[in-house]
Symmetry: none
Subunit: 83 residues, 2 copies
DNA sequence: GGAAATTTGTTCGTATGTATA
DNA sequence: TTATACATACGAACAAATTTC
């Protein structure tokens, strides 16, 4: 069940991005809702904040999340994604 | 007199924690009283609020202070500390 | 009572340095 | 050299409880 393989071939931040993508796709993190804070993700996966942010940058680049200062990171509904 | 060595071997937040611990031990910040606000400590030591809070987190972890929202950070008397 | 200021709590944004492969 | 990962530090904005006027 180890979602992150620290000795795996893929970088941690990319593995983490995949995990978060799956959780969004599976509705674990529902649309228009906040995902856990960067600090919470650091704790859950036992990685640094920089690594969490590297993963989140991938999801933001895919238009899956939108970070807001002082609020959190929100899941963007698929319908709203730019074609 | 430089209580904080910005180029020292220890991180600023840990040095600041030591300074505050000394002030509590010396009675500069008496038991059951408030220590200066985070903003005041930022000004006095010329560090960011995050750094002040990192130092205060250390003291809180040691049971030396207790922060209260909207009120301030209070010094816990040694007699009250759990043995 | 009410509005404004104060104070701690939380969260993301950015930058730098260190270490490793 | 580049990419990865962690630690540190400052900045900004928002939130909630309390105090002050």
């Amino acid at each position: 069940m180890a979602e992150i393989d620290f000795d795996g071939p893929d970088p941690i931040y990319r593995q983490l991005a995949d995990v978060l993508k799956s959780r969004i796709g599976d509705g674990v993190y529902p649309p228009n809702r906040k995902i856990p804070s960067e600090a919470a993700l650091c704790s859950e996966f036992d990685v640094s904040r920089n690594t969490v942010r590297a993963a989140l940058r991938i999801l933001a680049g895919l238009g899956m999340v939108r970070p807001v200062v002082g609020r959190g990171v929100f899941v963007i509904p698929p319908e709203v994604k730019e074609p």
